[in-house]
């Protein structure tokens, strides 16, 4: 009998402890009350900042900024959540689905468009931060391109940005008497002349894999041919003659490139390793070139056919709309802090050259320009931020972003078509029509 009672008690305790553990949703933060502790402590707001900079030195640099912020804002605790870039959107998606989106998230134009169309960001909060800083403090193009398609608010607050273009080996161009690759003709001529696959030397290397990197690279080619993605009524026109011409040019260039699905690693390795005379890449390649002592041997050009296409991407900080009013205010304060001189320069110097200022005063600031890498690239690095004044992107026309562009980018419609045409050697017309239909379906959803 005693045994039975004892066993029943054990079973009940096990059951209770399990259910109590399961019911606990948040760790207990209630301080142990002592007879002396009768005064209630000041309320502390804890917010999370999720970003895609998991490298140790970047995490340390961000933490320094956070510590600095918390010193001046004692009631706010900011916790960073670093996530590798490859799985960043998957992580965000999961957090959205579980209503656990952190108060602040690193974003960019593409992700911002998608998050905005899904209605999970607080665009008004972004506008309030931008207005507090003053719209004139930013490069004009940087703010215009972040305008939400459905309101006068912004899909994020820009903190830095990168510009893409053609990086080329100046010595090889001089040796063969080639002109800088600024026009389609010059690019093609240089690619043909400098291509020698038998010696593992290629004219050019660029993105061809099924990823947004390919869409970003192709954007520059398409826009330099005035190939817009939508007509005046917002209907897709991927099958326009200008777009087909741009795709044909992209395919022609592929003949002089390493074959296969090339992504970030392949493009960077081939160009920095000296296997390609030209590489289409963002300013993030500057770090690798500097480390190899190639800073003064490399030129940078923006392709031009019917017009010049300065393509780039803005890194933004966005506020989630799944947080409380207090957390929202704390998030706004932190983003405002990230736009201050010292913290913004610290953010930019995490990847000098790659991350460029979107604030005019920082671009001209001597402290910002004093970085060794930026000095090594000289004129190239000082010209880059100016590109944010005339930023171009697919889906951004007449000062407005198409509301479904984020979905088209997320579904990789353009990269899949380009990979099929270039790498799989599929029929160009069929693939263009297939992508066109898919875009129409997305727009009509």
């Amino acid at each position: 009998m005693k045994k039975r009672i004892l066993s029943s008690v054990i079973a009940l305790v096990m059951l209770l402890s399990l259910s109590l553990t399961g019911c606990s949703t948040t760790p207990s933060t209630t301080p142990t009350t002592t007879p002396e502790a009768t005064v209630e402590p000041a309320k502390t707001i804890t917010i999370e900042f999720i970003h895609s900079q998991p490298e140790e030195e970047r995490v340390t640099a961000i933490q320094k900024n956070i510590d600095e912020f918390m010193k001046t804002n004692p009631g706010i605790v900011v916790e960073q959540v670093p996530v590798p870039e490859d799985s960043y959107m998957t992580k965000l998606t999961t957090l959205i689905a579980s209503k656990q989106l952190p108060a602040i998230m690193e974003s960019n134009i593409d992700w911002g468009r998608l998050l905005n169309s899904e209605g999970v960001i607080d665009a008004k909060a972004h506008t309030e931060v931008i207005n507090t800083k003053g719209k004139d403090a930013f490069f004009k193009g940087a703010l215009e391109i972040l305008q939400a398609p459905d309101s006068s608010d912004y899909i994020g607050v820009p903190v830095s940005g990168w510009v893409a273009g053609i990086w080329y080996n100046k010595a090889l161009f001089t040796e063969k008497g080639l002109e800088a690759p600024t026009t389609w003709d010059n690019i093609l001529k240089a690619a043909k002349t400098l291509n020698d696959p038998a010696k593992k030397k290629y004219g050019i290397v660029f993105a061809t894999e099924e990823s947004d990197f390919t869409e970003q690279t192709f954007t520059q080619i398409a826009l330099s041919n005035n190939a817009e993605l939508f007509d005046a009524d917002g209907k897709p026109r991927f099958n326009s003659p200008e777009m087909k011409e741009a795709i044909q040019f992209y395919k022609e260039l592929y003949k002089y490139s390493p074959q296969g699905s090339n992504g970030v690693t392949q493009v960077k390795d081939a160009f920095v390793g000296g296997n390609a005379a030209m590489g289409i890449y963002s300013t993030y390649i500057m770090g690798a070139l500097y480390e190899q002592g190639m800073a003064d041997k490399i030129g940078f050009a923006v392709p031009e056919n019917k017009s010049a296409a300065g393509f780039g991407m803005l890194t933004t900080l966005a506020v989630s709309n799944m947080v409380s009013a207090e957390e929202r205010e704390a998030a706004k304060k932190f983003i405002g802090f990230m736009l201050e001189k010292q913290s913004n320069i610290a953010w930019l110097h995490m990847s000098p050259g790659g991350a460029n200022p979107v604030l005019k005063e920082i671009a001209a600031d001597e402290q910002y320009k004093s970085n060794e890498l930026l000095k090594a690239f000289g004129e190239t690095s000082s010209k880059v931020p100016e590109a944010f004044n005339e930023l171009k992107m697919l889906g951004f026309q007449d000062g407005e972003s198409h509301p479904k562009m984020g979905n088209i980018t997320a579904k990789l419609v353009i990269p899949k078509a380009l990979n099929a045409i270039l790498v799989q050697n599929a029929n160009i017309d069929k693939e263009i029509e297939k992508a066109q239909k898919e875009m129409e379906q997305i727009v009509n959803e």
Binding site: G22, I96, G119, V120, K200, G260, Q266, D269, G273
Partner: protein, 291 residues
């Protein structure tokens, strides 16, 4: 007699009380998600959880059954599972038979064999991608530059057939150590006197293998085939990281859920896969119970 029955009932109640925590745990982490997934499969689910899912009946299932990509993915998955399970088990068996024999350095050799299985997938994928890189990969150096088998570096991970062959090779190479370890353990448990008796009866190595070794390790082989089939049916990581040309079911599912954000359709796919895998498991279970 009635007292005995009451005692039995009380013991049964107590037993039930003991297993109740486990039952609650299983219900919360297996049964609830399973039921929730089935419910989701009948809805159009927005990425934003604040937007209510819309009930659409069997639409997701109808879309699935009429989607050529799903059928292609399913067929490709069957092919992938059959070949990888056969090759990894066979290679594992052969290596286990070899490693079961006494030779100098056997301990080190056994440790080396399991290396691919314990190394992180992402590092192995990078190694393979570098091995087959068009500019500096060792595979192209040998086949193009030295042996002149190809005129130019083949598109290893871009050609549908070549990439299928490579992901099968990768999986076989990565998971055969698991089969090897299981089979080796079973081989070591076989009573040595059986072989001695067989030798006295004049049975050669080949006969001994078919008459003693294989029947003795058959239950282990059966378990290996079932487990490996289930795991590979849901395979995603290494195939997705190596190539975009082999859209097996795990990849197709990931693209549906996280690339096109159709969670309702993704849920319908998992329900369909659950039915397929359960049918397979029940079929195998029935076969095994007959043995």
């Amino acid at each position: 007699m009635p007292r005995k029955n009451t005692l039995k009932k009380a013991e049964a109640r107590l037993g039930f009380l003991f297993i109740l925590p486990s039952l609650i745990l299983i219900a919360s982490i297996i049964i609830y998600p399973l039921c929730y997934n089935i419910v989701l499969s009948f809805h159009k689910v927005a990425l934003n959880p604040l937007k209510q899912p819309k009930f659409i009946g069997f639409s997701n299932y109808m879309n699935l059954l009429t989607d050529g990509d799903f059928i292609k993915s399913l067929m490709l998955t069957f092919l992938y599972v059959i070949i990888t399970v056969a090759t990894s088990t066979t290679v594992g068996l052969l290596i286990a038979l070899l490693m079961n024999r006494k030779f100098k350095g056997r301990g080190i050799a056994r440790s080396l064999v399991i290396l691919p299985y314990v190394a992180p997938v992402i590092s192995l994928v990078f190694v393979w991608q570098y091995m087959f890189n068009g500019i500096y990969g060792v595979a192209n150096y040998l086949t193009v530059d030295k042996l002149h088998i190809f005129n130019a570096a083949p598109a290893w991970f871009d050609h549908p057939i070549l990439s299928m062959v490579l992901v099968i090779l990768f999986d076989t190479w990565r998971v055969f150590p698991y089969s090897f370890m299981m089979i080796l353990a079973a081989l070591q448990a076989i009573d040595g006197s059986l072989y001695e008796a067989a030798m006295i009866d004049g049975a050669g190595s080949w006969k001994q293998f078919w008459a003693i070794t294989l029947p003795e390790i058959a239950p282990v082989l059966g378990s290996l085939v079932v487990l490996r089939s289930i795991w590979n049916f849901y395979k995603f990581d290494d195939v997705y990281l190596l190539t975009k040309q082999v859209p097996i079911m795990g990849v197709y599912l990931y693209q549906t859920a996280f690339s096109i954000y159709d969670f309702g359709l993704a849920a319908a796919i998992t329900v369909a896969l659950f039915i397929i895998v359960m049918t397979f498991v029940l079929f195998v279970k029935r076969k095994v119970s007959r043995i």
